[in-house]
């Protein structure tokens, strides 16, 4: 598991108040929204802020969020390609 993916899992657990979850509970390719982890549109907004704060990527359209945050793998790919921090 790459450091970025671990970092992201930690961030998600903290940022989204998923206190019951451990790092091992989230698979890299598991869908985070809908039937997967069950995140919703408010979580998208939270993650958008995290993207800017931690990786310097500014998303202006929340609609993009659901795709980019579809899974830990997808998030990591997007960040690796676009990070400025």
């Amino acid at each position: 598991m790459s450091d970025l993916r671990t970092e992201l899992k930690q961030s998600i657990i903290e940022q989204l108040n998923l206190e019951e979850l451990e790092l091992a509970d989230i698979d890299n390719d598991q869908p985070l929204f809908g039937d997967g982890l069950g995140l919703d549109s408010i979580d998208v907004l939270e993650l958008i802020v995290m993207l800017e704060k931690d990786y310097g990527i500014k998303l202006t359209d929340p609609e993009q969020g659901k795709e980019i945050f579809a899974s830990i793998d997808k998030m990591a790919e997007f960040i690796e390609a676009n990070r400025t921090k």
Binding site: Q15, L16, N17, L18, E19, E20, G38, I42, L45, E46, V49, E52, K53
Partner: protein, 355 residues
Amino acid sequence: MKNKRLYINGISSISAQLGNEVFEGIVTTYHQNIIPAVSQNYKEFIEPMALRRMSRGIKMGITAAKIALNEAGINKPEAIITGTGEGCKQDTDKFLEAILNQDEKLLTPTAFIQSTHNTIGGQLAQNLDCTGYNVTYTQNSASFESALIDVQLLFLEQPDLNSVLVGGVDELSEKTTLFMFLDKQLKEKEISNLDLLIKDSPGTITSEGAHFFSISTEKSDKTYAELIDVLVFHAKTSEDVSEKILKWLQLNNYTIQDIDLVILGNNGDNRFDYFYHHLQNGLFSEKAQLAYKHLTGDYKTVSGYAFWLACKLFKTGSTPEILKLNAVTCQNPKIILIYNQYLGENHSIMILNSN
């Protein structure tokens, strides 16, 4: 239009006291002026993905609401009316601090969304899948009473309504509750809650809680009491209060003789408790007089506890010693009057009739 007869069929209380223990003679004591409510098993009532975002007020509100509904055997009420004096303060503090500390940058929405006063009412609607009438009242210490007045109106307008959920919630928060202390609303020194009504000093103690009730026009063997009437009014002097009470009793075809027991909102603040003392020595001198804020602290919707207490008193027939303000006793009260005010404002009266 005459008021429909309204019955209280489900009740709940989350406060600084543990459930029904006060009726078993068990009272939790504290030596602090800001008292948290007793923790509940919120997971039993709220699913984890929703629970994770909730402040204590929302958790207490939803839990208390579900307990009351379960007791009344109602799956989905037809209306939800909530009162809260200070709303979701924990999230308000959180979001405001983020704004001030981060200079309006990189702010996340959850605390903001959860901070609006009607979050509890909104979450209840979502949780219970209730699309019916839904309003939140925020009139300081008359918030719960305002909600009850709306319940009365609803049943008056829609006689076929089955049941309405009504309740009051307020929570503590680190900063905004501290501000109450800075504003001299709280005792300057920490005291034991049991001494609240014997100290001669300004200020009171505060806490948090949620009290919900399921109200219907249908009476059953679960029914605790009948809600007769609710009034919220202005008063400059304690004579004004006595006058108002008498006039209003008359309007409801009652005399002072009909009242068996009164529950008063004495909160130990020597600047304002005279409103209660005047009634204790005057209009209510021959009635069994009870107080409760030494058990629960004072907060904007604490009169919900008094309402709950009245329901329990009707059911049990006897009165815990710890509540008594005077030596007049009353077994099996038939009519209970509840009077409250805070800082001399938002005076309110509620009358309940035994089933």
